[in-house]
């Protein structure tokens, strides 16, 4: 649940804030952490790395068949060529949606997620509910996201049990011929790259179902 402590600075600290502050203080006094390094880590994951990275990868795959082929064969190298490397993205596998085939990513054992491409995972991805249900009733899970797949669609759920991180390449929406890479990337939602959504349709094609 959201919390907002910024408005009551004079009150006693809540227990979690106090506990983390004490731990940070002790770690700093022992020479184990550099508080400025903590700020850099937070800045990186709150503001620098997020789903726009993955969206660039997908947009490139949609518009460049050679890149798409590389992404299928060796996604780690393909995404590194766009500058996306690093922690929780050391080994990437891209799985492609197509008519009749829908991919969904989960980590039932913890919360493995392709940080280098999508940033930190949202709460629902980390929740016991998603982790428990995605492997046994993915269609029911997808329905909660408003995603309804045609009968007969093969649903493949990728449980991230190793250091391999999965990126779903959603289907390219219709009505996007001629859009440039930035316009295409703007259609690629975070959820579409986890498999819990579709790519957005372009505004101008609003009449299409």
């Amino acid at each position: 649940m959201p919390h907002d402590h910024a408005s009551d600075p004079d009150n006693t600290l809540d227990p979690m804030t106090a506990r983390v502050m004490a731990l940070e203080t002790a770690l700093e006094r022992k020479g184990l952490v550099d508080p400025a390094a903590l700020d850099r880590i937070i800045e990186t994951y709150e503001h620098r790395i997020g789903p726009r990275n993955g969206a660039q990868v997908v947009a490139r795959a949609w518009s460049d068949p050679e890149f798409a082929d590389w992404l299928r064969r060796d996604a780690t190298a393909a995404v590194a060529s766009l500058g996306y490397t690093g922690r929780q993205g050391e080994h990437i596998v891209a799985v492609f949606n197509e008519p009749g085939l829908h991919n969904l990513v989960v980590c039932t054992l913890c919360s493995c997620y392709p940080w280098s491409l999508l940033g930190l995972p949202p709460t629902w991805y980390k929740s016991p509910a998603y982790r428990a249900r995605a492997v046994i009733e993915p269609r029911a899970v997808l329905a909660e996201f408003g995603v309804d797949l045609p009968d007969g669609t093969r649903v493949v759920v990728w449980d991230s049990t190793s250091e391999v991180r999965y990126l779903v390449v959603p289907e390219r929406p219709t009505g996007t011929d001629g859009l440039d890479a930035d316009a295409l990337a703007a259609l690629v939602t975070r959820d579409s790259m986890v498999g819990t959504g579709f790519a957005s349709k372009p505004q101008a094609a609003g009449a299409e179902g």
Binding site: E24, L27, H91, L109, A132
Partner: protein
């Protein structure tokens, strides 16, 4: 271990906690808990898998009763104590007796953060003379096993018939890496199971679930 973390297939958690325009963090302490976990991990006293095992070892009532970052924090505290980096009293009070020690030789400095995060920590290791035992498309059976220590073979996928769909490489073996053996590595495979094999006749039609499985999790059929 058969811990509370291994939730795949459970049915009692209710609807997903979806939130419109969700922020990256919901409280400032969550920011610090994430950063402290990464910075303390960079000291090199434990592996990623030992860190995971510390979270998995929380009693189920604590695990399910804790928010995500509270689980991280509890595990970090236990790791720091186990590795004699901080005492429980020091963590509780923030007070450290005696003169300020010199910085730890592997303390993560602010100027190193960008490089360290961009490099990450690849988990693949040279295979040497080892050749993979299984081929693409081969049918395999996952082992029935209930190790007391860390494993990445989820309970729902034990003793199940599957098919090799990918050869992922030769990767560090978490079952050993979590318990002090940092060098052990095995071939890693993508293994696909049909829904009915995992869940029986009531499985959703057209479902397949793929896990990544290390070679010693698998037996030939």
């Amino acid at each position: 271990m058969n811990g509370a973390h291994d939730v795949g297939g459970m049915q009692s958690f209710g609807p997903l906690p979806l939130e419109e325009n969700e922020p990256v963090f919901h409280a400032d302490w969550e920011r610090r808990a994430l950063a402290l976990t990464l910075a303390a991990g960079a000291l090199g006293h434990w592996t990623l898998d030992e860190g995971r095992h510390a979270r998995e070892s929380l009693p189920p009532a604590v695990y399910f009763g804790s928010s995500y970052y509270r689980i991280w924090l509890l595990a970090l505290e236990s790791l720091l104590e186990r590795h004699n980096l901080l005492s429980a009293e020091e963590m509780r009070t923030g007070e450290v007796a005696g003169p300020r020690p010199a910085p730890h030789p592997r303390q993560l400095r602010a100027e190193s953060v960008a490089g360290v995060l961009a490099r990450g920590g690849p988990a693949d290791r040279p295979a040497g003379d080892s050749a993979p035992r299984f081929d693409m498309g081969q049918e395999v059976m996952t082992r029935v096993m209930n190790p007391r220590g860390h494993t990445r073979l989820p309970r729902y996928a034990r003793g199940k018939r599957g098919r090799i769909v990918a050869l992922r490489g030769h990767h560090l073996f978490p079952d050993k890496a979590a318990h002090g053996d940092r060098g052990a590595a095995e071939w890693l495979y993508g293994v696909s199971f049909e829904g009915a094999e995992l869940w029986g006749a009531g499985a959703e039609p057209g479902l397949a679930v793929c896990i990544d499985a290390w070679e010693s999790y698998l037996e030939p059929l």
